[in-house]
């Protein structure tokens, strides 16, 4: 899915609609965001790692 389709879809699902000039900036910036995320997905062993958030049912 290309950056424009991804960004527009995600904002629609999030219930927020930036004006077109700002949407264009988000679309332009999305590859850099994706690259940062790809850096994290490249870290080994992550499928077996628990995340940070903890649910304490007693709270």
């Amino acid at each position: 899915m290309d950056a424009e389709t991804t960004v527009r879809t995600l904002f629609t699902l999030a219930g927020v609609t930036p004006p077109e000039d700002e949407m264009a900036a988000f679309i332009e910036g999305y590859p850099a965001t994706r690259a940062s995320l790809d850096l994290l997905y490249a870290v080994p062993d992550t499928p077996l790692t628990d995340g940070i958030l903890v649910f304490r049912p007693a709270d």
């Binding site: 995600l10 219930g15 965001t33 994290l40 992550t46 709270d59």
Partner: protein, 470 residues
């Protein structure tokens, strides 16, 4: 007019010797604000009347032999994302709920007040702790006392500028990716991001709930230690705190002696960045030499997964911020500042799987750091690659390019920034000192030992002249 002591410690001594009253001190701070705040943009709202009343009460109590400790009668400012009972919390935004936490103190403010502190008012911040200054919004533009054409850093901008210029002797800031340590470095003061979960965050507008810290900003490490002693400890209002977590008397850790400690120097991820100040390496090396002279053993280290964990911080907080702001963004997008909505909006662009991956990498990075800390007691590096950024050059790219702070938010370790010298242009540079979780006292020990041997933290911007009494 009364001269303002440089530090809380100096002021506390003068208050008890009879050389100074809290009322005179508070009036002097107010006069400094009268003279400088139009230039510096520190205050959103001053609480002059209630501050003077609190100061008078402090004087009466001290005269009657009731001594609440080192913060008694000391003027402090509060970043305007933290609730104070005197008035509303704006988040430096036109999009806020005036009824939020109305008439109540955040628990951390209540603790400062119970310790006798004089709350002077609410301070400017990046909008909701993340938006760059926006001249189109009805809030002051904060300026760096060392050079008002430059930014004091943020998001605790007013806190940093105000302590640096002597408008109060300490302040509360918050730190999600560096927002205590960055303005501390840019303004030439001390700022502490303590261990995550040590200080309650209830009554503080959230930015990234898994990354946020409320921390002290002061001129000296001794002052920051005194503040954290009051601030720290479990409060049931904050579910992020380990049950029963306690603080300690951090002032008791200030021995001046680093004998027996091993300090890791992290150059690989901190030095050699393009565009770094030309004097950074030499100034940093001199700072390390001072730590060695204080007794520490110095070793070279490299933090594993540094780039990944730093990236995780900057990907994580927009998601958490978007969750908080989504209803208002949906209805009032353009009422937010342009920079604010440009960064919080990116939080909508990560999937749930992406967010889970961010959290996993933080967990892995923390485990790797814990392993590194089996061989060292502390890790040091510069806080930023440059001095304060000119307003002509300020944007997200220039900000991100200078920061060495975000990594420490993802792992939650205590991290302190202290002044370590000046650029050729006369702008302060900061040294970052990090420790193991809940070893905040040891971090203070090192910072204080450094400050006992140097005088950078006592330097005043020319704008703050006439110089306060020593």
């Amino acid at each position: 007019m009364t001269e303002i002591p440089l530090t809380m410690t100096d002021a506390a001594t003068a208050l008890r010797s009879g050389d100074l009253t809290s009322v005179a001190l508070t009036e002097a701070c107010m006069a400094a604000a009268d003279r400088l705040d139009e230039t510096l943009g520190v205050y959103i709202k001053r609480y002059d009347e209630t501050a003077l009343a609190a100061a008078a009460q402090a004087d009466a109590e001290l005269a009657a032999g009731t001594d609440r400790g080192p913060l008694h009668g000391i003027p402090l400012g509060i970043k305007d994302i933290i609730a104070c009972l005197e008035g509303e919390t704006t988040g430096n935004s036109v999009v806020y709920d005036p009824d939020w936490y109305a008439g109540m103190d955040a628990p951390v403010v209540a603790r400062l007040r119970a310790a006798g502190a004089v709350i002077t008012g609410k301070l400017t911040t990046m909008e909701y702790a993340c938006g760059l200054p926006d001249p189109d919004k009805p809030y002051p533009i904060p300026r760096n006392p060392w050079d008002p054409t430059t930014w004091p850093g943020g998001s605790s901008s007013g806190s940093g500028a105000g302590v640096s210029a002597g408008l109060f002797l300490g302040a509360l800031g918050t730190d999600t990716g560096g927002s205590v340590r960055l303005p501390a470095a840019f303004c030439g003061i001390t700022g502490m991001k303590q261990t995550y979960g040590l200080v309650p965050k209830a009554g503080c507008l959230p930015l990234g709930v898994t990354l946020d810290h409320i921390g002290p900003m002061t001129r000296s490490v001794a002052d920051a230690a005194a503040m954290l002693t009051v601030m720290a400890g479990f409060d049931a209002s904050d579910p992020s705190m380990p049950p029963g977590v306690t603080g300690e008397d951090y002032s008791a850790a200030l021995t001046g002696d680093l004998s027996g400690l091993t300090i890791g120097v992290e150059r690989a991820n901190h030095l050699g960045r393009p565009g770094a100040d030309p004097g950074l390496v030499e100034i940093f090396d001199a700072a390390v030499a001072e730590l060695a002279a204080a007794g520490a053993t110095i070793v070279e280290v490299e933090i594993p997964l540094y780039a990944e964990v730093a990236a995780a911080t900057m990907l994580c907080w927009p998601v958490e911020a978007f969750l908080f702001h989504q209803p208002w963004l949906a209805e009032r997008w353009e009422d937010y500042g342009r920079w604010t909505r440009s960064v919080i909006g990116t939080g909508a662009l990560l999937t749930a799987a992406d967010y889970d991956q961010v959290l996993k990498v933080r967990r892995l990075g923390k485990a790797a750091l814990d392993e590194l800390f089996t061989s060292v007691d502390l890790i040091v590096g510069p806080t930023c690659a440059t001095g304060a950024i000119s307003y002509d050059d300020l944007n997200w790219d220039s900000l991100m390019h200078t920061l060495f702070t975000p990594y420490w938010n993802s792992v939650g370790n205590p991290t302190l920034s202290v002044p370590m010298g000046f650029t050729a242009a006369g702008l302060p540079l900061g040294l970052q000192i990090s420790g193991k979780p809940f070893a905040d006292a040891l971090v203070f020990t090192a910072g204080d030992a450094y400050q006992r041997r140097t005088g950078h933290h006592l330097a005043l911007p020319a704008l703050a002249s006439p110089a306060p009494a020593p």
